[in-house]
């Protein structure tokens, strides 16, 4: 095995693959409690519109089975639970137990129960049967996965034929000006905001770095094609700061 296959990125750092899960877990254990507040602050609330856009593109119907992967504090799960109804099934899965606990507590407080189950799972080795879900979403989670290709193949396996995958993730801004402004915001303001609100600048420094290291729109689309998805396309949101990729399993 070559050195390249044994190492991966953790923000701008190169680390051994087996270290990444623990390091990412550390970040999310640290930010879990303030995750929602920080999301609203960092994006000015726009993350809610990005998530709504993903739901609009999901084609979800009552009675369907949904996997909300890296579901964190359950924003997408809450809406899927209401739309799929009592005959539907929504699985909120996250590799990080702190995020899962925050998500479960939040959804139960809102009275969302019954058709929602919670699973601690690694996206690279999903513990579900083949051809099980009508829809899989992964919102702001894929960039933290160590082996993204393996994760996409795992998602393809558990998706039903005719089902679709939605990947909502930070991406590359389409204009030079926006890119520069976004860099300044990410590296100058974001860590300070993290320090101020969550008392943790390092995690938000990692956030900014991990976004830069994530594959751009076209590369991710090709990765989805390589994993077996068909009819793949992407939508740039907020000038490409975020992109929604969609692919089908036929």
């Amino acid at each position: 095995m070559s050195l390249d296959q044994e190492t991966t990125h953790f923000g701008f750092k190169t680390i051994e693959k087996q270290q990444k899960v623990a390091k990412v877990a550390e970040v999310f254990h640290s930010v879990a409690a303030k995750y929602d507040v920080m999301n609203d602050l960092m994006s000015g609330g726009v993350h809610r519109l990005w998530k709504r856009f993903a739901i609009d593109c999901s084609g979800i119907r009552p009675g369907q089975k949904v996997l909300d992967l890296a579901g964190g504090t359950g924003d997408l799960t809450a809406k899927f639970s209401r739309i799929t109804g009592e005959k539907g099934e929504v699985v909120l899965a996250d590799i990080n137990d702190s995020m899962l606990k925050v998500g479960r507590a939040k959804l139960r407080d809102r009275g969302i129960a019954g058709n929602v189950s919670y699973v601690q799972a690694n996206a690279e080795a999903l513990p579900f049967p083949d051809n099980h879900f009508d829809l899989i979403t992964i919102g702001f989670g894929l960039r933290n996965v160590t082996d993204k290709d393996q994760a996409l193949r795992s998602m393809f396996r558990v998706l039903k034929p005719g089902g679709r995958l939605l990947v909502l993730e930070f991406s590359k801004p389409s204009s030079e000006f926006l890119s520069k402004a976004y860099d300044t915001y990410s590296f100058q303001i974001l860590p300070k905001l993290g320090e101020l609100v969550a008392n943790d600048s390092e995690s938000y420094q990692y956030l900014a770095e991990s976004i830069r290291m994530h594959p751009d729109q076209d590369t991710l689309q090709q990765m989805m094609n390589d994993a077996g998805f068909e009819g793949t396309q992407y939508y740039n949101l907020t000038g490409g700061i975020v992109a929604l990729h969609r692919g089908y399993k036929f």
Partner: protein, 204 residues
């Protein structure tokens, strides 16, 4: 639909969803009425604006701009008819004149309209949760008194009310009058400057 127009409809959907749920949260009986429609999907097209899908659950209404299954009921009408639709008696006329198009289960449409038409908003309760009982009571009481006074004045002496409105209107300075006044003022200012210069010349 392009990505950009999808994004715009998405924002409109978010605004409609927030507004609908905020309005319904003012009435504690809304949940009971929503439960009669649980799981139903209503499509509304306020032509020429895009179609929106309202999915009702016991907790709230979710609004989507795309829905790939058949809605239980589809409504199409012009937004200018919204006020007329709020009056039950005019609905049958709108249906006959085909200004309102309904496809699917009309009972679902009626129950959906009831969600909003049968609302009894508890504004005082909502205000009290933010500012306390006393302030909420005082604000609502004074507002009611004000509305009552205006109504009474309009009823007992409509002439007096129109007189007050006319007087208030006269106090408003039209733009042209302001310009005339400004021009006069500038002329006066230049004449004064000229006079001052003349006096200085004479003194010298």
């Amino acid at each position: 639909m392009t990505g950009q127009s999808k994004a715009i409809v998405n924002v409109v959907g978010a605004a409609v969803e927030t507004f609908s749920n905020q309005i319904m949260s003012l009435d504690k009986n809304s949940a009971q009425r929503r439960s009669k429609l649980e799981g139903k999907v209503i499509s509304i097209t306020p032509s020429p604006f895009p179609q929106l899908f309202f999915i009702v659950s016991k907790d709230q209404i979710d609004v989507l701009s795309q829905f790939e299954a058949q809605a239980d009921c589809e409504l199409k009408f012009s937004p200018s008819l919204l006020l007329a639709l709020a009056k039950r008696e005019s609905v049958s006329d709108l249906l006959k004149s085909e200004q309102l198009e309904v496809e699917g289960d009309i009972k679902v449409a009626q129950k959906f309209a009831d969600l909003f038409l049968e609302m009894e908003a508890d504004i005082e309760g909502r205000l009290a949760s933010y500012f306390g009982d006393v302030i909420a009571y005082q604000v609502l009481r004074n507002l009611r008194l004000l509305v009552q006074a205006i109504k009474q004045m309009a009823k007992s002496s409509p002439q007096r009310l129109s007189q007050i409105s006319a007087q208030e209107w006269q106090l408003h300075l039209p733009y042209e009058a302001f310009n005339y006044f400004k021009r006069d003022l500038e002329e006066l200012e230049s004449e004064l400057d000229a006079l001052e210069l003349r006096i200085r010349d004479l003194e010298a």
